[in-house]
């Protein structure tokens, strides 16, 4: 087990810089999730830690050892790939034992470790099968098993659940979390799925176009998103962004309605409100002309537009509701659920 630190990491492909000065200190035993849309550089970052991509500049430490020049095999890491990368011609047992065999572990030791890992993952019954005889979920477990038998300092996960169906994904997500807790191995997990990120990570690193947008706990990210990007990325359905003007402790919306605020800032801004924080209030300042209601059972998503404007707004309200298209609804939002962003930099405005 080890800490990991990323110091001023840069990655170029040819002349194009794809990762820009990434910094990060990961604690021992921590579960770090790197999340972002596809192409944001998250897999590249993970693969740099694995040693599968070279480092253009900057340093990667695992424990107190600088690993930039080390072969993947010498970094004491294990990786779970998106397509599992199980060796198709080897049985489950051989797949799990391969890394140990190459490291010249004794036969008994290999046997013991494989059985131990298989017990933890409940795959004892499949040890002699080939990967193609297994279901997706079972392959996923084998891939995990291959990672844990070596008892490495670091686990790396590269979107390991994206090939599974929705139900299995939820189940495996829980298992990965439990397993990581139990083994206490520092883990880096890459995903584009914000729900996965929120549920798994002790801390999340949100990556956008090669920049770290924010690095913090899930609750931090949810409550105090550092930018419009993070705010929009975390939470479902996405946060509403309403163009606004800040004047004399008021937020003035496009249609002229005003909302009191404690912020002392002035000028153009983006006012962010999460759908679940919109409360129906006949005196509320946010006037929405409804277009469509989606009833999800526990709650209802009301889609509409800010009255007299084009800006679309979504509200998530408890219970079953059905509003005629075109009816006007008013919402209120408590001040602690206000998010204000600079309209140019799209960074969070602190009050």
């Amino acid at each position: 087990m080890a800490t990991i630190s990323l110091k001023d990491l840069v990655k170029n492909y040819g002349k194009v810089e794809v990762l820009h000065h990434v910094e990060g200190e990961f604690q021992d035993g921590e579960f770090i999730v790197i999340v972002g849309p596809s192409g944001c550089g998250k897999s590249t970052l993970l693969r740099m830690v694995a040693g599968l991509e070279t480092v253009t500049s900057g340093e990667i430490y695992i424990g107190d050892k600088m690993v930039n020049q080390l072969e993947p095999a010498d970094r004491d890491i294990a990786m779970v790939f998106q397509n599992y990368a199980l060796y198709p011609h080897m049985s489950v047992r051989e797949n799990m034992a391969y890394g140990l065999k190459l490291r010249k572990f004794s036969k008994d030791d290999i046997e013991r470790r494989v059985n131990e890992a298989a017990t933890i993952l409940e795959i004892q019954d499949y040890l002699d099968r080939k990967p193609r005889q297994l279901s997706g979920g079972q392959r996923q477990r084998v891939a995990m098993g291959r990672a844990i038998v070596r008892d490495p300092q670091v686990f790396l996960f590269d979107e390991p659940l994206s090939n599974l169906d929705a139900k299995l994904r939820v189940q495996m997500r829980l298992e990965i979390k439990k397993l990581q807790r139990k083994l206490g191995v520092t883990s880096i997990y890459v995903t584009h799925d914000q729900v996965e990120a929120m549920t798994l990570g002790d801390r999340l690193m949100v990556l956008n176009a090669g920049y770290v947008e924010q690095f913090g706990t899930p609750i931090d990210l949810y409550e105090k998103p550092a930018s419009v990007f993070v705010a929009g990325f975390i939470g479902s359905p996405s946060m509403n962004f309403l163009p606004a003007k800040l004047t004399n402790s008021h937020i003035e919306l496009e249609n002229g309605h005003k909302i009191p605020t404690s912020s002392a800032q002035q000028g153009d801004a983006i006012f962010g409100v999460r759908p679940e924080h919109m409360v129906v209030d006949d005196n509320g300042p946010i006037e929405v002309k409804t277009e469509l209601c989606e009833q999800l059972g526990a709650n209802t998503l009301v889609h509409g537009r800010l009255n007299k404007c084009e800006t679309s707004v979504v509200a998530s309200i408890q219970g079953h509701w059905d509003y005629e298209p075109g009816s006007i609804l008013r919402f209120n939002v408590t001040p602690e659920n206000h998010h204000l962003f600079d309209s140019k930099t799209e960074k969070r405005l602190e009050s």
Binding site: R47, A50, G51, L52, P72, A73, A85, Y87, G99, L102
Partner: protein
Amino acid sequence: MVEHRPILNIVTHLVLILGILIVALPIWITFVAATHDEARMLQAPLPLLPGPYFIENFKKTLFGSGLSGTETAPVWRMLMNSLFMAIMIAVGKIAISLLSAFAIVYFKFPFRMGFFWLIFITLMLPVEVRILPTYEVVADLGMLNSYWGLSIPLIASATATFMFRQVFLTIPDEMLESARIDGAKPMRFFFDILLPLSRTNIAALFVILFIYGWNQYLWPLLITTETDMTTIVMSIKQMLEAAEQSPQWNIIMMTALLAMIPPVFVVIGMQKMFVKGLTETDK
């Protein structure tokens, strides 16, 4: 098929059977010729149904000294020569192609593309067009009348290298990444992962190359002057020449039959693999 058309179905089968008859006719006639005695084979019209001498001709051909009046090696000897040559060519081609495809796909090294083009050029130089100078090289190296001379000049081929390259490119990158994390060095990766994963392609290619090697004609014709080194395919021509003086068609056709049995057997026995290999290699 899409709709039910009994007449068309009958026509279909008739055409196919006719096709098979035409394709098989020369082979049937060969077989028939190999089942009669010498005298019968000198009377026109030649028979169209098998006679009783198959076993006798078989023994005479396989273990005798071929045609009377000519000096050829016994047929079993020529079969062995062909077998050696075909296996050496097939195994040799597969081995060197696997290695070079491995280098080109999995390594970054200076002149990589240069080597690739060098191999590619061999595609454009069938042995027939460079026959004389190649013969001189082999003669200078003292490789005439040897299995080495028969096989080595034929084992460099771009086709096999390209096929393996293609196969390797379809193996997911994660195999290598995972193997590297597991601690596999290049050659270990090659033997533990790459070879087992290319097993079916290797087998398919072996079939094709075995036939290619077995059926070589012009090259062995030039390289071998000693009767001990003649291959079975070559011997047919010598027998045809001899036939002009003393036609022993039963023996000649039995020899032809023996010469085609091994490759035909391989093709039919490994049909599925061979078809897959052929249609996917050449494309």
